[in-house]
Point group: C2
């Protein structure tokens, strides 16, 4: 199993569903020559309302699937998995490096120099307290407010990201952030970058930095590949292979909203 890694091996990226395509998009932009393999666990989506035990079980299976597909690195694009199952992924990945969106988002937030940080995410991510712990490890003087926003994923999938319903929902969820002079907001769910401009409008003339962990994890991946001399040297664009555990057709239909272009070929795999 422990063969020498080869730069032509793909980067494995996974999420509970389609949101992780925002990470694929960021990786493709920064690392256009890398081969990428994606797994979206659409049979179990959303993880945000599932238990830690279930999320760990699903994550172990997906990690083994990616390892079988010979990846050189794994990016956990799912915040719920990053929050409660990173150890499971790492232990199943052996010597393959694993990066996660929570560490990436936290590092980016710290780098802004913010004193007062807001975190939004699913019930599982916020309930886990993982962002808060990760931020406090790096700076225990920070003011941190967290808020679970379970309606944002279905709103994003409905395409309602800037209508009245989206605006009212964000304004209800974020009323405490607005009263507390939050100066940056971590988007703790891969669906949330679709609300970036609505969020900016909501905070209108106040200086609030929106932190998109998709960009942050793509940058971490690049640094790690450079350090390990594993940057793909092919001159053509990398291949993209996409797998889901249910409803490939719906995934294909929604994919453009998240990836910026449709995914032509989505294969179905039944892991359990």
């Amino acid at each position: 199993m422990n063969k020498t890694p080869d730069s032509n091996q793909p980067i494995g990226i996974f999420d509970s569903g389609i949101g992780g395509l925002t990470v694929v998009k960021a990786v493709m932009k920064k690392l256009p020559h890398e081969n990428v393999i994606y797994f979206g666990d659409t049979a179990h989506v959303p993880y945000g309302t599932k238990s830690d035990q279930a999320i760990n079980r699903f994550s172990a299976e997906i990690t083994r699937f990616l390892i079988k597909h010979d990846v050189k690195m794994i990016l956990i694009a799912c915040n719920s998995v990053s929050a409660v199952a990173k150890e499971t992924v790492t232990s199943n990945a052996g010597s393959i490096p694993v990066l996660d969106v929570i560490t990436a988002g936290t590092q980016a937030a710290i780098a802004t120099g913010s004193k007062s940080i807001g975190v939004i995410g699913t019930l599982a991510t916020i309930g886990s307290g993982a962002y808060e712990r990760s931020l406090r490890q790096r700076n225990n003087q920070l003011q941190i407010k967290s808020k679970a926003c379970p309606l944002l994923v279905p709103l994003a999938e409905e395409g309602w990201t800037d209508n009245e319903v989206a605006k009212n929902t964000l304004s209800l969820y974020l009323s405490e952030f607005m009263q507390n002079n939050i100066d940056s907001i971590i988007l703790g769910c891969t669906h949330y970058p679709l609300f970036t401009s609505t969020l900016q409008a909501l905070f209108n003339n106040r200086a609030v930095t929106i932190i998109d962990s998709a960009d942050s994890i793509a940058e971490m991946a690049q640094n790690l590949l450079v350090r390990h001399k594993l940057i793909n040297t092919q001159t053509s664009r990398g291949h993209f292979n996409c797998f889901v555990s249910d409803r490939p057709q719906r995934f294909r239909e929604l994919s453009e909203r998240f990836l910026g272009r449709p995914v032509p070929d989505v294969q179905i795999v039944n892991l359990a």
Copy 2:
């Protein structure tokens, strides 16, 4: 397996998650002496965005689980299952009778004498066309409009059933119903009864009948038990046993909203 049924056996009721407790509530009201066993497939919820294949696989497993618990009748409280997997449930149930919410809701709508019926439900239920087919079989002169409303389940679980977000969402989803003189609306999802008063307010001075299939299936169940001489003759209240495939704690927390009282004991079962 084919022993003579006994009136003391429980009624089995299942759903993809918690919404089916609205059916349990209606059954308990109409048939207070019946023992009831409930299964909520919270590891896979929501079914509304899953494929027909996946819903059939989940439904077969749940049916076998209920049969093992010696039920005398099965009520499919899930519209997605009623739409795409009733055959699977029936064939796995052997001689045990199976009722479903779509047949129940359709019969109730026909009984109102409505000429113009609106149906709302999840993507899977509406996409299947099952209500439309079931209505047309009984009256092919009906005017029928169907609309998938994927945001209503997360809104109900958030407890947002009558705030501005709920009102705007319903008004966006139902604008076509309002323009088309719909005279009754079938709530094609077990979460939707929580929006009944908001819906009534939306249609304010127009005469629109809201059809709640939880009440309709409870009535069908009563009729069938009477016909088969299987009404439980015990004088005490029936027992209630509740099983889920994930997150019993969250299920317990949300249960009061759907059942009218909390479920004291929720057991976890891993079917697959």
